[in-house]
Symmetry: C2
Subunit: 281 residues, 2 copies
């Protein structure tokens, strides 16, 4: 699990890092970014937020576009942003579809060959990466205070990771999440190929179904959704709202007028999410 | 001068646009980004800031990385960010050197063939683009209130444009500018190729020489410079300090400890620059 530092840039008084490491779950070298705020010094430990990105993204998109460092530096939050799939496995066709394969790991553990070899982003994000952070940054980060958030496919991922691991993540939020992959074209294509045709296995990766089945005892789930989002048919925020209502879970779903699916939307509301998490970490 | 809208994204209550147009000075299609803050509505006109980017950049880098929209929306500032060179002229070798040719127009008007055909970024930035903005956005922008700023090669460009056109730009600032191109390797290579071996012509594009020769009657010039900048030998902030001192011009040159040359540095201090300009616009 040895880390290699790719870059380190001072930013808002903290440091924005990019690291790579040989990952077991994904059977390849993975990259992630880590922002350490100025408070993470001299033995002072800070909470950590995991950000999961959307389709086509790497660890870079959030890191350079979201403008999160300003508020993370103010609040004293570390932020870890991993890549969105394994890269370099050389599986035929893995780069052919922007919504499946490279850049589209969907934060699940594939069970179908050939994807089962390394498309195990669920275990990578919820187990291997947190263990690496705990081992390598024990002097800067208090991993008992972790939250998770994300955008689009990564909003789906954040919700699924939190709902399935409520003891691990104290707070969860999302921007324009794919709210029910079992009911979206992107999701159904990915689930079918990664998990097989038996739809019973799909429910473990559908945040609306998980929410309805088991609820969420943590703080209110914050979700922002632009009402001019060009992918709204894939996202279906109403399914999440209905599931939360049925489960009696507090969901703050904010429809933001005029906003689309881009990081220009994300940067406009990222501060609210960071403050929401900081309250509970 | 007809404009084509490439994209429009709501951001911090305003709109981040990218446009293209057929430019005469550069003899090709040029792109620029334009942020219009929420105040630029219903006949209410706002001041405008021009941002000039550094080597290798397009109009995109500042637009997605600098985090300027947040404060521009608060202050009611429009921001125009052009590309850094003509593109598509097909001049042999124009893409061979990151510090010359494509992405490296140096905000000058080349006099030497073949570059004189379209490498005329000085006239493009100071004449053609402002005229286009005035013609197309007269309902949103008060072009009598213009300021200019930039980064690295674009910091050089901003200083040169302002110093040579003090009636046009009411305020100027820079991040890590190439303070004296006639004394930097990047600058000397570019000036020699664009303007010829006669160094007398070079002084018109050297902000330290311009400042010393003619001063600046506008508000204090704000410059931020990281003290861990990997390109400090090309930037030479002390030449600008000495020129300002000799000319009796107020220069606020801030050495920012630990910061490098990246947009992580720029985003950390962009708000100070926007507030500085807004005071004088």
């Amino acid at each position: 699990m040895s880390l290699k530092q790719i870059s380190a840039n001072k930013c808002w008084g903290g440091t924005q890092h990019v690291y790579s490491h040989a990952a077991q779950e994904t059977a390849c070298t993975m990259r992630f970014s880590l922002f350490l705020p100025p408070q993470a010094q001299n033995g002072n430990k800070v909470p950590v937020l995991y950000w999961l990105s959307g389709l086509t993204c790497t660890e870079e998109n959030f890191t350079v576009k979201a403008g999160a460092q300003r508020v993370a530096a103010e609040l004293g939050l570390a932020i870890v942003a991993p890549d969105t799939s394994p890269r370099g496995l050389g599986i035929p066709g893995e780069g052919d579809n922007f919504a499946f394969g490279l850049g589209a790991g969907f934060y699940l553990d594939a069970t179908q060959a050939p994807w089962s070899k390394g498309y195990r982003m669920y275990s990578y994000v919820t187990r291997e990466l947190p263990a690496l952070i705990a081992a390598e940054f024990s002097a800067q980060i208090d991993t008992s205070r972790s939250g998770i958030f994300g955008h689009s496919m990564g909003g789906h991922g954040a919700l699924v990771c939190a709902l399935r691991n409520p003891a691990q993540y104290k707070s969860v939020s999302a921007f324009a999440p794919i709210s029910s992959p079992t009911r979206s074209d992107w999701g159904r294509h990915a689930l079918n190929n990664y998990l097989g045709a038996d739809t019973a296995a799909w429910a473990e990766y559908d945040s609306s179904l998980l929410l309805q089945a088991q609820g969420w005892a943590g703080p209110a789930i914050l979700v922002d959704q632009g009402d001019k989002d060009q992918f709204i048919n894939q996202l279906q925020p109403e399914t999440l709202r209905e599931a939360a209502s049925a489960a009696g879970v507090a969901l703050t779903l904010r429809l933001q007028p005029g906003y689309d699916h881009s990081y220009f939307f994300v940067q406009s509301f990222i501060a609210d999410h960071l403050r929401h998490h900081a309250q509970h970490l």
